[in-house]
Symmetry: C2
């Protein structure tokens, strides 16, 4: 079991592309969700699958259990996911000694670009790259779970801006 | 991914004990449940842990994905289970060429004894041992999920009999 500590920002320019190291294509779906917990399946580059349980409220720190599972199982679970399946490309970007992950969404969430930095402890204060915009750490509307299960619909209904 | 096909009965006498092969002690809890799916953690003999996702309505056949996980993870999940943790001893009993599992519950469900036989296909017609009583296949009130998340409370409220 790991603790997940991260900060999340919207991205306002493409300048991060000059720093990027590598990228992967993710498909992910939620098998089952509740207010404070979720079970997610993720397919990476159509080659491997992981199952992730998160327990605790969306925010700076949650309990996370993650296991590799057979790709075939993962694909069957994606078929049975609730809500919409998230499709995105994740770019790894090093900035100021920290590894940032920039997620460029397509499909139902095309146009949304989010940057996350993982912290060893909550007091870490990473330098912010010039290409990040508004911080959305702890804002459940930008969690993948929310995007998958109610994101697109709620954006239309409430006029919530996904822009930086 | 496996299909689970089984019939379930209440047990009306202790006569099955003369046939028993081996037994294991199970602790199990539900991490998250919804109407047609659940995620369960099971600790066997305090030695190993498995995580099981079931998708589909409770009944004769459901999709089931099962993975071994570290015992330490399993025990942490049991701590975070929703509802009550189920504690039972499972006895393997061979009868008429079929393997029956007799679950003797303790803790919150003391007094409940349930026998299940797993079938290779829904047309299988195993001979019924004389010690089984009322069939409860597909009755969600006798699913472990229901027993863990609302069983004890509902039994008190509705006077539902758990007896054979």
């Amino acid at each position: 079991m790991a603790k997940e500590i991260e900060r999340k920002f919207l991205v306002r320019s493409d300048a991060w592309r000059q720093h990027l190291c590598k990228s992967s294509k993710f498909l992910q779906g939620y098998i089952i969700t509740d207010t404070d917990r979720s079970v997610r399946v993720r397919i990476k580059d159509m080659k491997c699958a992981t199952l992730t349980l998160k327990i605790g409220h969306v925010g700076l720190s949650r309990d996370e259990f993650e296991y590799d599972i057979p790709l075939e199982d993962g694909l069957e679970m994606i078929d049975k996911a609730t809500g919409s399946v998230i499709s995105k490309t994740r770019y790894n970007v090093e900035y100021g000694g920290y590894l940032w992950e920039v997620d460029v969404f397509d499909g139902a969430h095309q146009g949304l670009v989010v940057a996350e930095v993982e912290l060893d402890n909550p007091e870490d204060d990473p330098p912010l790259p010039p290409w990040v915009g508004r911080e959305v750490t702890g804002d459940k509307r930008f969690s993948n779970q929310w995007l998958a299960t109610c994101g697109a619909a709620a954006e239309r209904r409430n006029g919530v801006s996904l822009k930086a």
